[in-house]
Symmetry: C2
Subunit: 745 residues, 2 copies
């Protein structure tokens, strides 16, 4: 596994052959009402995400949105998508008229966003702003009105979410330097936000295509003509280039960003954007997006569904951020990604999606995780600002590795990954909110976490599944002792199962245990959960979270029929929370109970109710594209049980979808007899490569080399898929590892 070469070279590809899906992407989809998606310009997984920041009347952390009052304060270079609490650094803003650095903000009009391009007119200043970018460089084009006082300002003290919350950011200080009449550089230091690390530094180098008539800086107080300004507090720090502009005069700026040094920021400009053609940079970004989006094509879909689908593709490829070459902490030839935000969100369907349509990217994301383990001691559960944190539930990087392993993803140092997984499962972390497994001592000794540790319910069920993932890799790497140990721990969730706990007529739920092992007092049940027992999910959601052993879960819930009624109850009584990830697998659980028709009912309704083509079209935080990836899989008609090698069939949304796999082969998915009203959402029969597919699931190796999957649809349920349910751990007739064999060559 050693000696793998990591190549930065892009594959040769004929531009003309790539379909133009950029115009099927509506970046505003999901920006409002909780989706929090990024607005601006970025290349796929780009480190620089250059976009507008809006005045925040109420200290809200998102840089953009309806509720923000509509005024733009400038364009900053680092953002998240579907997340908050970080970035907004190096804020560039054009201004006309007298410059008051405490009052730079403008209403906007003519706002446009496409992948790789953003434009708006700042009506207060009469300036049109256009943005594009490379991976590490923001490219700005401003069209000014005639004005004796035109300015291009840079503010370093700005960052998103300076509110009082525990996830808010702080500006710690920095410096700016005027190099010439058209160049500046500098650095800002920031702390806070989601992770549990210290400060992070953002370096910039800015170069203009137009010499300024003058330039000024400020540090704390008034503007001066000093070329250098330094501050070590949270006071204002910035610079301005001043111009006399004629009508329609264009001034362009390139801003290289680096986490290493201003020199590196300058090199990034020289390497990635040496010229001054905005359109060349934009075209290159568009081409990268079209390459990325062309991995799936659709036929017979509505305009609305096409927009939703390709926008979801776009949203799954904004994060994590590719910072290869920009790691200030250690040197390595491995890829380096940041903004795993959070793996707890993305391991469920984002990872499996990339494994299908962009396995090289998923390989690099995992290699980066492993390299972070090598140098920090842990694979992160979440990471941003060059540091790990915060953990949410389990150590689900374990599932990410296992998913790659069981699907035969090449180019990954699995032995080292296995060491990282063993550490997660064995070594109590110094700061369990930062990395590793909180409560691991109790979990390994008693088989469950107690109320002495926070999130003891969600952590116990997630660790159980993480341990199942470790067992898979252990067996695969020929470590049968570890395989048996962790396969045994994969049953640990059963230790918190109280078969006598009855809610709304259903018996058997997770229930917390006190440190002495006794059940927590029952009088707290009235609220549907216990305080701090579950993380971002309720009793119903987590009492359905056993991806490794749904068969056993059904048995403990009273059998197939009762389990179906329980799922019905979850959906009818709105215990299902479509806005968050812990329930992602719940809709397809019907398949294990022989009722894929009910999976189809629920998925069909969720795809329509919860997702639209509007600005509010993502039901909850997009979480780095996790929500979008759920939409993509379910729209295609199947959904992964991440960490295992099979997919659950739901109901297809498109008459035809083609997935272009890394092998060069194509998986065709054809749905016959679909209708516009979605009446025919029940599968009557299916074939895979011409042979009947009677099960409501299939394995990864049945499709990874391409083929044709045909669904015949009808308006009422039939007997299809009602027998031979999907795999469960309890189905195994042999001891763990007996049947294991490496998927690797």
């Amino acid at each position: 596994m050693t000696g793998i070469e990591y190549s930065h070279a892009a594959p040769a590809q004929n531009k003309a052959s790539v379909p133009d899906h950029v115009h099927d992407v509506y970046p505003f989809l999901g920006v409002d009402w909780g989706g929090n998606t990024f607005i601006g310009a970025a290349v796929p997984f780009g480190m620089v995400k250059l976009g507008p920041d809006m005045e925040s009347f109420d200290g809200r952390p998102s840089g953009f949105g309806y509720m923000s009052g509509g005024r733009i304060i400038g364009f900053s270079h680092l953002h998240l998508s579907g997340a908050s609490g970080k970035y907004g650094n190096v804020l560039v803003a054009p201004v006309t008229g007298a410059l008051d650095i405490a009052d730079i903000r403008s209403p906007r009009t003519g706002e446009v966003n496409h992948p790789g391009y953003y434009a708006a007119t700042l009506t207060r200043y009469g300036v049109q702003a256009e943005l594009t970018s490379t991976r590490r460089v923001g490219f700005h084009r401003y069209t000014f009105p005639a004005s004796a006082q035109s300015h291009l300002t840079v503010r370093i003290d700005h960052c998103l979410d300076k509110g009082p919350g525990s996830e808010s950011q702080r500006f710690l200080g920095g410096e700016v330097h005027l190099i010439s009449g058209h160049e500046a550089e500098g650095m800002g230091r920031y702390a806070g936000g989601w992770n549990k690390g210290g400060e992070y530094r953002v370096y910039f180098y800015m170069v203009l295509d137009t010499p300024a008539a003058g330039a000024r800086t400020w540090a704390g107080g008034a503007m001066t003509t000093e070329k250098d300004a330094v501050i070590n507090s949270d006071q204002p720090l910035g610079l301005t280039f001043d111009f006399h502009t004629r009508a329609h005069q264009t001034i362009q700026a390139k801003v290289g960003i680096s986490f290493i040094s201003t020199e590196q920021a300058r090199r990034n400009v020289q390497m990635e954007a040496p010229g001054w053609s905005f359109d060349t940079i934009r075209d290159a970004s568009v081409h990268l997006w079209n390459q990325a989006l062309s991995k799936i094509d659709l036929h017979g879909e509505t305009d609305s569904k096409r927009i939703q689908f390709y926008t979801a593709m776009y949203h799954t490829m904004l994060m994590p951020s590719d910072r290869t070459g920009e790691n200030p902490l250690w040197k390595s030839n491995e890829p380096y990604y940041d903004d795993y935000y959070a793996i707890w969100d993305t391991f469920r369907s984002s990872g499996p999606l990339l494994t299908l349509i962009a396995p090289d990217r998923q390989r690099d994301l995992i290699r980066s995780l492993i390299d972070i383990y090598r140098h920090t001691g842990y694979m992160p559960d979440a990471r941003s600002g060059n540091d790990n944190g915060r953990t949410q539930g389990g150590s689900n990087a374990n599932v990410v590795v296992a998913d790659a392993w069981v699907k035969g993803l090449k180019g990954i140092d699995y032995p080292t990954a296995f060491q990282a997984m063993l550490k997660d499962a064995s070594v109590p972390p110094a700061n369990p909110q930062k990395e590793g497994r909180g409560g691991i001592v109790d979990y390994n000794a008693k088989g469950y976490i107690t109320l002495a540790d926070e999130r003891s319910g969600s952590r116990t069920v997630e660790y159980s599944y993480d341990d199942f993932a470790i067992a898979e890799v252990a067996c695969g790497l020929n470590h049968p002792d570890e395989g048996r140990l962790f396969a045994g721990r994969a049953h640990n969730w059963e230790h918190l199962w109280d078969k006598n706990l009855t809610v709304q007529g259903f018996s058997g739920f997770l229930r917390p245990r006190n440190p002495d092992g006794s059940w927590a007092a029952p009088d707290m049940q009235v609220r549907g959960t216990w305080p701090d027992f579950f993380y971002e999910g309720d009793l119903w959601t987590y009492s359905l979270y056993v991806p490794q052993d749904v068969r056993k879960l059904i048995e403990l819930s009273g059998g197939d029929q009762t389990f179906v009624k329980r799922l019905d109850n979850v959906f009818y009584r709105k215990h299902f929370d479509v806005t968050n990830e812990p329930g992602f697998l719940i809709p397809v659980l019907y398949n294990w109970a022989g009722r894929p028709d009910k999976t189809a009912d629920v998925v069909n309704a969720l795809l329509e109710k919860a997702f639209t083509d509007q600005r509010s079209g993502i039901p909850g935080n997009d979480d780095s594209g996790a929500m979008s990836s759920w939409f993509i899989f379910q729209s295609l008609g199947f959904y992964p049980d991440a960490g295992q090698d099979f997919y659950l069939i739901g109901t297809p949304s498109f008459p035809e979808a083609n997935i272009h796999l890394a092998s060069g082969k194509t998986l065709r998915i054809i749905a016959r007899n679909l209708d516009s009203e979605h009446i025919n959402h029940y599968i009557q029969s299916a074939t895979l490569n011409g042979k009947p597919l009677d099960t409501s699931w299939f394995r990864h190796n049945q499709i990874v080399d391409g083929g044709t999957l045909i669904f015949n649809m009808g308006s009422a349920p039939d007997s299809w898929g009602t027998t031979n349910p999907p795999p469960s751990m309890s189905d195994a007739v042999s001891p763990p590892c007996a049947a294991a064999k490496s998927q690797q060559e």
Copy 2:
């Protein structure tokens, strides 16, 4: 006020002049995921609502929907829209092959629904079904395949929701009679569902255009050739006409429905559908819909918004059901409507909408309420199945009457209505779940309801507003003593206001009082509310429900700025429940605090997030069109404070909307500088008939005679509407009734 003639005559109108908006209606909008809208054929406010009922796998009460499994069991004649728990009577189903009355169900294909027309093909039987209707007659057209065994069956024992729930229905018995080879009649008796009454009887008369080869009946057991079948239990009861059909043979049936007698049912067929032309009946229904929908026209809207808007119009005009001439309980020349389901839902915006666009209909609905008071002793809070019940919150028919009064609606016997209001406010009802005001003794004696009665919080605030409504009418009718009494009681909500109760940093909330007057124990606050203190709403929602005195509410909440932060908290932390009516007024409350820009933010986002043009496009139960009416008003750019004579301005969705008023005049609403991205949702300035309109509200008498309202839109808030907030009771400088004058001539 006596001697008013009620006319059944439709106004003369030129068919050619009516725009065709029927094709802008998508009846499936809202059918799924909780909207529960009606699918089938009905005329506006039609008594007969003829549509498909689906097999219900899980005892769900709705007759139609994704989750129902997709098989149609037949077409029944009485339904609700946006409600459940009632009807599904006289189920007609075509069948081919051997007839098993225990297994009549079929998948469907080719399903189509437009106002006044429904069609689907039942694939199991190869029969195409088409439906249309008049007010009291269902018209069926079935196209059969060649078959030696074709049947047209009628089942009387069927009704919706026979589940075990407290709102489910029961079949009590009935009878069927074969009159000839092409005629039958009969009756079914049913009880249960939402109201608090006894049984209701549904009579039918059925006539075919094709003589049957044979006919059979059944009552409890097997099919027989008896012409008469009677049963007095919940066992099967029905009949079938049997045919030998050739390919594509059409068999038509007319089914008259009556609540009086089979003779009346027959007369309804003879009067309303004398001929056999399906298309004639359908065309007449379409014409009625086009007349009703043409009261508002739009310009510059998107296709999607147009469909949403006219579908919302359609949904607001399906209920209540016009049963004039079909009242089995008393004889009267007044109009008779049933399925006020519930006024608690519809008083907020459905009533004010009809007052604007169909004041004659609203007049008749109120006359019917008053006539129900005359003969049953109470204006209902809800009514269906010819009986009152169940009450939900206040006695909000009081607000319905006051809304009509302050807006000058003619043709209503206000003195009798006033007597009905006084009774609500004075006389303890025998069954407070059926009608009247539960807890009225405490309320009138102590000024609040205690925890000794259910819903003491929501009832106290609703009664306070109901009393404000009574005061308005009392003053108008020159009863100054009553005016002062009820104006005083309109402050009663303040008695449950605990200024020291602090939640999430905000102080001052409603809090229950024990029967001895002490505050309820605070340890129950953790759940956000107390059990049974509020009906279908939480502490945040009901602590904002003071439509008569928002000024006082703001004062008790800490002033404008704190109130704005409280509203922000309600929306950001998702205390606002867009799926239910108690919070309908909350978004516009910002106007009272001088922040109409925030109203615009919230309304804009809600219109997009919560409402779509899809089958799941209504966020909660449509409640007889209440949700749809909220959408209509807010899309137009203003919203009523029902029971008072002014509207709150939000943000317009259309470049131009014209409301054709009863006066023959038109109110033009023009929004300049709207953009497709909804960036420009902030009003910068406004004019009404050329004069500046600087307030975020206007009065009914400013628009009732038509005019032109112009909004100039922009992308960021400006100072428009920040001063001169809307009226509040506390603003009054004179004692109650001093300034009152009748709006009536």
